[in-house]
Amino acid sequence: MLVIALCKGRFLEPSLAMLARADVRFPEDAASSRKLIFDSEDRRFRVVLVKPADVPTYVEYGAADAGIAGRDVIMESRADILQPLDLNFGHCKIAVAGKPGENPSLTSEFEFSELQENSNSLVRLGFSPRATVRVATKYPRITMDYYNARSIPVEIIPLSGSIELAPLIGLADRIVDVVETGQTLRENGLEVLEVIAESSARLLINRAGYQTKREDVRGLIQALEKVVRCESSI
């Protein structure tokens, strides 16, 4: 029996739907019930429901043989797992966002003029003008890699939710977050300044399981591959 870790939340229904189209069917109420483990109708697969950020961990340890999670979560976890398939749903961008028109990263000109502008309001809020850009994010590793690659020193403020709030009350200069339509950003007076990477739902496979359960794992990959191909040619 192969164990598949799925995310609770907005990925759950599309994941189950895709698995169903690949002939891996779970009971109707899977998405709505409170159960965290359920078996497929033919008993060949088992699904466990975990938090999105934990899917790569379950798969890396082999507690789950496979998983479905967003590329954003996979990149952030740096889990040592295989990613054989882009499932082509849940598309979004991992991006740097901030107030409209701002530079995504501090340059020397920016450092001087914007700090001057902002310093009064910042000082009122109790913050002193900064030489290092401060970025609030749920993705500290992705953010650090992004700024390191550009040789820009950065101070990372790890947050777990409502990231858009940070620049609005002076906690940070920028945020790094996932963006779908951009609606949430706009409503909070922010906009995408630079796209770091594209993200979509991916299939994850445990490295050792790929070798020791090759037939079952490959069968799953091929079945899902077929579904993805069919859907993209519609």
Binding site: T57, E60, Y61, G62, A63, A79, D80, I81, L82, Q83, P84, L85, D86, I205, N206, R207, A208, G209, Y210, Q211, T212, K213, R214, E225
Partner: protein
């Protein structure tokens, strides 16, 4: 002074039964190695940092525990054994008759985030074979790995055998800037077929090269994989690698052990420090590999003596997770005699070879 009940992350303490189990495993495996005429080497737990920086793929340098001695030399706690053994062989044993067969058992230290079954201190046991260049030495160490599993009663094990030269021959022929080669390797490494396909579409490579790269992630399986690969590559380095793998496979067939062997041409991790065959051993239901090995002919030369070298290391920590607890572990104290009389009685029993437990 505050008493610390926590132990540093990434370390563990084995007491009683767990410790006996560890030693029992060690003894069983060592006796397999000794049965193939391997002698133990007990190297120091630290050496000059440079020794390890030459790299046996212990991982990124940041993971090596370094410290500075009183004279300002940079030392390091060993992140692996192979570099130490290779250095000893290249220096102290340079004039010894070849081949030289050595085994080791002990802890190695790496500053990794403790996750994925990896601690910061973990127990390795492995063998090194120096002075044998051909497939004979390769087959020897593979057979020893097989016997180790069999001795431990592990049923569902699998040895994935590949060759660095197969992928090496392909990469030699690719004329691309290093960042793009790195990108290719990243996709191949996680078997990201869609990422690989879209990258290949953008690269100025001949169709035939694109074909082999596209097929690479799937080239894992039985002997047929070698045939499949032969139809895709023509360069001599890759072809020779396939010949070599096929010879080893045939020997395994002859010995009725071929079902333990999986040809894995898709595995490209380790490409930077192994020089010939490369293998990983897996056990069903364990999420991580239990052994890693291969050929590293270039290593002794970096210590001054050009010698072929091949070997492997088992992870004792991971083996402990799968080997059944009853193996070779006797209940301590079950046969010991309780002595409540006197020290004389205790000594009398001890001289007679009995185990005693004092309750005076």
């Amino acid at each position: 002074m505050k008493a610390y009940t926590q132990i540093p992350p990434g370390t563990q303490i084995l007491i009683g039964r767990a410790a006996r189990r560890r030693r029992g495993l060690e003894r069983a495996i060592s006796s397999v190695f000794e049965g193939w005429s391997y002698e133990e080497i007990i190297p120091p737990i630290f050496d000059y940092y440079d020794v390890f920086a030459k790299g046996m793929g212990a991982g990124p340098e940041e993971q090596i525990y370094r410290f500075i001695d009183r004279e300002g030399n940079i030392l390091a706690l060993r992140p692996e054994f192979t570099s130490l053994v290779a250095k000893t062989v290249a220096t102290r044993l340079a004039s010894s008759p070849k081949p030289i067969r050595l085994f080791y058992s002990g802890e190695v230290l790496r500053f990794e985030k403790p996750k994925g079954g990896r601690q910061r201190e973990f127990a390795q046991i492995g063998i090194e074979h120096y002075g044998g260049a051909g497939k004979t030495a390769d087959v020897e160490i593979l057979l020893i790995a097989v016997e180790t599993f069999q001795r431990l009663g592990v049923q569902d094990f699998q040895i994935n055998l590949g060759s660095v030269d197969f992928f090496g021959g392909i990469v030699d022929r690719i004329e691309l800037p290093p960042e793009q080669v790195a990108e290719l390797k990243d996709f191949l490494n996680v078997k990201d077929q869609s990422g690989l396909d879209s990258l290949l579409q953008k690269l100025p490579l001949a169709d035939r090269r694109k074909k082999i790269l596209r097929a690479l992630p799937h080239l894992t399986g039985g002997k047929s994989v070698i045939q499949e690969a032969r139809e895709l590559v023509k360069n001599s380095r890759s072809v020779e690698a396939l010949d070599h793998l096929e010879e080893i496979y045939s020997i395994f067939e002859h010995l009725n052990l071929e079902r333990r062997l999986t040809i894995d041409l898709a595995e490209i991790r380790g490409f930077d420090y192994y020089t010939g065959i490369l293998f990983r051993a897996y056990v069903r239901d364990l999420g991580f590999e239990v052994a890693l090995g291969g050929r590293y002919d270039g290593l002794p030369a970096t210590f001054g003596e050009d010698l072929p070298a091949v070997g492997f290391a088992f992870s004792l920590d991971r083996l402990e997770q799968i080997v059944t607890p009853t193996l070779d572990v006797s209940e301590n104290g079950s046969t010991s005699v309780q002595v409540d009389k006197s020290f004389e009685k205790a000594l009398e029993l001890r001289r007679a070879g009995k185990a005693v437990k004092l309750c005076l």
